[in-house]
Subunit: 377 residues, 2 copies
């Protein structure tokens, strides 16, 4: 008999209150009852986004909304500046390429955020650059980018700032309006605590200006169609009804706790994870500019990282994430966002200790949990 | 106190067995447990599609997969032949337009399918036409198209035949391989009995040939990325996990009952609805070429169709669909697919009688239910 724990950086666990609302009989989407859902979700998303801008909602994975943020803002001949620090930063470049948009990659060292000293230098934005793409929290490395500082620079140009906050929204602070972020892309399965299948973008007036001029082809992800629909509390295509109903409940939970309290909770838990792995003699993948939503840890030498993740999951029921692509087997990642609690962390770190010990890694058994308890208290 | 009944042509009601599986704690998508879900869903979708072709699965509404079937098959300079008989047929044309693909509309009279006598004439497919787009069941009019006959003609050309079966799959017969349909597009919220948010396409060898040559831009709906992933029992982007788990259960229910039995059941129920409304003196919108998945009925003169639908829903808890766009207020639609049963129809027709009577329509009260009982027995 196993009890399962999920500490992956998406999907994250779903609160029972939310699961229950999604298990109710389905309702039709062109009814006053569902319009109320759209209205409440829209209002609460603005709260989470910290914005007065419209938030558009798509039935899609986060990648769909990332694509939307390229094809709606740009036109053939435009250029994009893409800050790449991992798998998800690279994705913006891939999308630009697929649409024949020239992009200037600004590659930052994996595991490090954009160097503040080099930032002004690197962010020379010529007139052809119409959008700058940045990842708030790079899920693949656990690195968080100083979006506020980048926004201050981009603000002076015609270019719009697009932030992929799929793995950051409702997990770590992003002040859309205060910082001046034009487009914030997000998804449902991370800080928002519902299953994957919904994606969101907030759009500023500056971005709408670009959208009006954009000539890249689009249909399903045409922002203007969604804007027109949301003005009538409607959707242009059939919405993912039960995910929307789950989202309404999840957003209620978020408002009840309050964004600031949530950010503090995540911060404390992430700090506890960092202390804990360090106490076990392990090394953080991103010792600087780490995100409080997910912590990436280097697999110690001589240990098979893929086996570690598999054993924790299959033998002990504890789901954490391994490394992706070239980091496969060399990294593991523990999420601290959404419906992941200190009690989950205790089970996770204790299990990590047990499995590392079984695999022959030398360290003081119990040291991780001790550090965790000390930081969490 | 009201008990709610949903007889709309999407979303259709969800069986409790399916709702229950979607309310279980979420699992991660890169695990053997989820791979088993993908594998089972893929196998059972092939059964429902009656095909050996790969079936690609998208986290999106059906429209997303419709867009996919345009941008993956065509290239700039290609032409498309689009059979339009209602809102959803028109959508293929809109998508072509958005991507700068010239399309030749073949407009069929609303409420009538492609005239078999004119079909050969109309389907003159010149060399530039690379795809023919047809709607199996036009949800907006309740008309079903003779896809088998069209497939026989298109087979002789280089063009691929694309069928929108969003509102027909698992509701009425579509024999993908036997008829030779190259791309069959579908969605989750109709015959498949799960909430909206998943879309599907099956792709034939002939279609893959066109896809290899297609140069229209794409990323999220890039069929090749999905084919590559499914070969490894994976998905290119985060899948809609709980919808996939619900789909697995819904497909199990379909296999348990068997496609042929399901089609017969839908046929009998649709026939009962037609008899029933005719007995009440009402007129079918599509007296020929009707679909057994949804029946469109003309609102009698002097009756406010929008009020009829609203009253049935708000006062009696019975959800049927009104007319869309220019048919608003002039039509109502009753679905007979998926988890809609004879008992739902009895409540629906009795309520229709009650409300029509309240609204001053003159007919023999009870005549509809009588005809229903006679046909269903």
């Amino acid at each position: 008999m196993l009890k399962n724990y999920l500490l992956t950086p998406g999907p994250t666990p779903i609160p029972p209150r939310v699961l229950e609302t999604m298990a109710r009989p389905i309702i039709h989407h062109r009814t006053p009852e569902f319009q109320k859902v759209i209205q409440e979700v829209e209002e609460d998303l603005k709260y989470v986004y910290q914005t007065k801008n419209e938030v558009l909602i798509f039935a899609a994975s986060g990648t769909g909304a990332m694509e939307g943020s390229v094809i709606n803002l740009l036109s053939p001949g435009d250029k994009a500046l893409v800050v790449r620090g991992g798998k998800f930063g690279e994705r913006f470049g891939e999308i630009c390429k697929a649409y024949g948009v020239e992009f200037i990659p600004l590659d930052v060292v994996c595991g490090k955020a954009v160097d503040p000293k080099k930032r002004d230098e690197a962010l020379k934005i010529d007139k052809k650059i119409k959008a700058v793409y940045v990842t708030l929290c790079e899920t693949s490395t656990g690195v968080s980018t100083d979006v506020e500082a980048i926004a201050k620079i981009v603000k002076n140009y015609e270019a719009a700032l697009v932030v992929d906050a799929i793995s950051g929204l409702a997990a770590i602070p992003i002040k859309t309006d205060e910082w001046g972020v034009d487009v914030v892309v997000s998804g449902s399965q991370k800080g928002l605590m519902i299953p994957p299948g919904l994606a969101f973008v907030s759009v500023s007036a500056k971005a709408w200006g670009l959208i009006e001029k954009s000539t890249l082809p689009k249909y399903y992800f045409d922002f203007k169609a969604y804007r027109k629909a949301i003005a009538k509390t409607d959707t242009p295509f059939t919405p993912a009804v039960n995910l929307m109903i789950g989202l309404r409940e999840a957003l209620k939970i978020i408002r009840e706790e309050g964004l600031e309290v949530i950010f503090e909770r995540h911060k404390k838990m992430a700090s506890a994870v960092r202390s804990s792995v360090k106490a076990m003699g392990l090394e953080l993948f991103a010792p600087e500019a780490y995100s409080d939503g997910v912590t990436a840890v280097k697999v110690p030498q001589g240990i098979d990282g893929e086996k570690l993740v598999k054993t924790m999951r299959d033998k002990y029921g504890v789901g954490i994430a391994g490394g992706q692509d070239e980091m496969k087997g060399k990294m593991f990642r523990i999420a601290t966002m959404g419906y992941i609690t200190p009690s989950d962390l205790i089970v996770c770190i204790a299990t990590l200790e047990t499995v590392l010990s079984e695999m022959g890694y030398k360290f003081q058994l119990g040291s991780g949990v001790k550090a965790l308890e000390e930081t969490l208290k």
